[in-house]
Subunit: 275 residues, 2 copies
């Protein structure tokens, strides 16, 4: 999928919502546990109930790996289901991978070729040759951690190098890498005011923004500082949407939460005359 | 496994060799491709041929994920085989994971509980709350990237914060985290001279050292600067050992390469009177 196609989908749905499919079997409705593949059944119901309100789904691989082989199978079924039934959706494998060159190539193969995700998240610590193998894939996107939404973000990401924070250095350096036009960045919503400075370095890139809702970030603030002329934002919500109810009505409840977010987004797009 | 047990194994085998099980189906002997699970068959033969010469095996998860569900199954069979047949071996899941707290807990569960590895490698970029969930597991070890052996290590890891390299800051900060005694560190062999400075910060920790052999590092140099009073080093070799031959004799050839490394290690241990 190209970023142009992603933008067209945003305009069409009046939404830039990404729903995080972080399925914890301790949190899904009890009755699903009796099915053969509760993780997939949960995802399928959530996806069917919300696909017209969001532009992206983002399964975090940790939640699948924790259930071993069965979990990996649920991940495979989930991505196949989305790709077959809702091919316009932008899919993100939230895997935060990164390794030396030939090894990163294997990860890229895993997520882009085997599982057929549109994008994958990567960690920047190992530098250029750990990320470029992902960037080699045409019409695929690599979403690099820049400034994350957790407390630990302040341990290293905001340390200053010659008066400038590491995360800014990471972003700036990455713009010089081969095929850097295929990069997107993770920027946590809990630091919305930082977004305008980030936009000075990468005015055109898409930003994946976690931390709205459960983690406390404000949608309005994020849009104020982070939106560009083709929106350029994917706002992620995971727990706030998918665990809206733990009962039989979980899919409807998820839809209701997703609808609230979509309507807020539509209002913002209308205000900015971007719809 | 405790670090004391690891040290005893090192003394017993006169080796601190870790063999990287990075299985690429394009590089394994042709005849294995006809078997039902070529990755596992390859690993099994390598393990049976080398288990008395090394103290650790380190499958890199990328090479398994690249083959999807079948690959994950091969990884599971490999770790189970080692744990059952050679329980004294220190196993490392080279996964380079790291995410916000509750998500890192899922990764820890995946590698420590589901797959029963002794240790897992993690990336430091997301800070304290991305690593501490791994450290909560008793008798398990978390091996954090500090200074890696690839070219990209110089992109961010060696940037200076108040005159001091980021990787040193990462190491020092991590020593204050809860259960930091369960931390080990990845330090590339290509920068052996940096090891003495690292030893000033963490004199007692085990270091996992990739980059000897194929990536050009020298074993003598690494030991000169990095060894401590209980050895404190795990030297990894992957391609140099496992792809020593692409023929029917691949396991014997791997043993011959592992033996060369073990004999060099024995000589060093004898010189230092540590055997």
């Amino acid at each position: 999928m190209t970023t142009q196609q992603l933008y067209e989908q945003i305009q069409h749905k009046k939404s830039f919502l990404c729903i995080g499919l972080d399925v914890d079997l301790n949190k899904v409705p009890q009755h699903l546990l009796e099915t053969e593949d509760p993780i997939f059944e949960f995802n399928k119901a959530i996806i069917d109930a919300t696909h017209d309100l969001c532009v992206s789904y983002k399964p975090n691989t940790a939640f699948y790996e924790a259930y071993g082989l069965k979990g990996w199978q649920s991940l495979e079924k989930t991505i196949n289901y989305i790709n077959e039934k809702y091919p316009d959706i932008f899919t993100i494998a939230d895997a935060k991978r990164g390794d030396i060159g030939n090894t990163s190539s294997m990860y890229a193969k895993a997520f882009f070729e085997d599982l057929k995700f549109d994008s994958v998240t990567v960690a920047p610590y190992m530098g250029k040759d750990s990320v470029e193998p992902f960037l080699a894939f045409e019409d695929k996107h690599t979403i690099m951690l820049a400034l994350t939404s957790n407390e630990g973000a302040f341990d290293f990401q905001t340390l200053k190098i010659d008066g400038r924070e590491l995360y800014k250095q990471v972003i700036e350096t990455s713009t010089e890498w081969k095929n850097s036009h295929r990069l997107m960045y993770v920027v946590g919503a809990t630091k919305a005011e930082y977004l305008s400075e980030i936009r000075e370095i990468i005015p055109n890139s898409f930003l994946l923004v976690p931390g709205v809702g459960a983690q406390g970030g404000s949608l309005e603030e994020v849009c104020k500082y982070g939106m560009n002329h083709h929106v350029g934002l994917l706002i992620n919500s995971s727990r706030g949407v998918i665990y809206a109810s733990k009962d039989h009505d979980f899919a409807e409840a998820a839809r209701a939460e997703a609808l609230k977010l979509q309507q807020q987004m539509q209002r913002i797009l209308e205000e900015k005359e971007m719809q």
